[in-house]
Amino acid sequence: MPTARIRLPAGIKKGEVIEVKTLVTHAMESGQRKDANGQVIPRKILNKFVCTYNGKEIFRADLWPAISANPYIAFFIKAADSGTLDFAWTDDDGSVIKESAKIEVT
C-alpha cells in the first residue's frame, strides 16, 4: 500500500513563501529492467503529480521513468490563506494516490 508524506514548515505567516516537501512510496518501475528469466519488467510509474490549494491547481508535474523510486518532490507555495493542500499522484494503471495537508497561517 503506497503511503504519502507531506512536510510543511511550522509557524507559517500569512503571505510567506514556504517549501512543501512531498514523498510517496512507489517502485517507479522503469520498464528498462529485466527479471531473473531475462524478461523485461513492464513499466509502472507515477506519471503525474498535482497540488491544489483550497481547490485551485497551483503546481503540476509530468514524470518519466528517470524519476527515482519513492518520488520526492519539493516546491514552494505562497501561503496566502489557511486551508487545505491536496496532493494526487497518478499511476500508469490509472489509480490515484491522494494525500492532503492542513495549512494554518497567522
Partner: protein, 162 residues
C-alpha cells in the same frame, strides 16, 4: 613555455615567475573554455524533445539554474534542484520547467508547471542517471521567452538496475 624559448635571458627567479603567469593564464583559459562548451547543447534526441515541449521556441542560456552533484555515487537517486530567477507575479512568472538528459534510455525526466501562487520558481527532486551525462533544463516564462541551463554529473554506479 620558458624564458629561453621566448628568446629572453632572465634571472632564474624572474623566469620562473613568467612561467607561473603563463600557467595561470593557460588555466584560466581552460576554465573559460569549459564554461563555453557547458552552455552549447550537443544536438540529439534530447534537444528535439525539449524543442517540442516549448513549441520550437529558441532557448537562451541564463535565468535558470540547474544544480546536481558533480559526482553522483549512486545513479539511482541523484538529487536535483532547479530554480528560475522570476518575481512570480501574475504578469511575470515561470510557466514551466522541463528537464531532459542526453544519455539515459529516454531523454525525458520531468516537466514542472508553475503558477504565480508558487511565489518562488524552484523545485527539487531525485533523478536516475544510467551513466555519466548532462542534465538539461529549459524554463518557459509567461512572456514567451525560453531559458536554458545544463550540468554534468559523473556517475559511479548507474541507475538503470540491470
Amino acid at each position: 613555455m620558458t624564458a629561453k624559448e621566448l628568446g629572453m635571458d632572465l634571472p632564474p627567479a624572474l623566469s620562473r615567475r613568467i612561467v607561473l603567469i603563463g600557467a595561470a593564464g593557460l588555466a584560466s583559459g581552460l576554465i573559460a573554455g569549459r564554461d563555453a562548451t557547458a552552455q552549447a547543447l550537443q544536438p540529439g534526441a534530447h534537444v528535439q524533445v525539449l524543442n517540442k515541449l516549448v513549441g520550437g521556441k529558441k532557448a537562451t542560456p541564463g535565468r535558470i539554474k540547474l544544480r546536481i552533484p558533480e559526482i553522483a555515487e549512486n545513479g539511482n537517486t541523484v538529487p536535483m534542484t532547479v530554480s528560475v530567477d522570476s518575481p512570480m507575479t501574475p504578469d511575470n512568472y515561470v510557466k514551466a520547467v522541463h528537464i531532459v538528459t542526453d544519455n539515459n534510455p529516454r531523454p525525458e525526466v520531468s516537466s514542472f508547471y508553475f503558477t504565480p501562487a508558487n511565489g518562488k520558481a524552484e523545485v527539487s527532486t531525485r533523478i536516475r542517471l544510467a551513466e555519466t551525462m548532462h542534465v538539461i533544463a529549459y524554463a518557459e516564462l509567461s512572456d514567451g521567452s525560453v531559458w536554458s541551463d545544463q550540468a554534468e554529473a559523473k556517475v559511479t554506479i548507474g541507475g538503470c538496475g540491470g
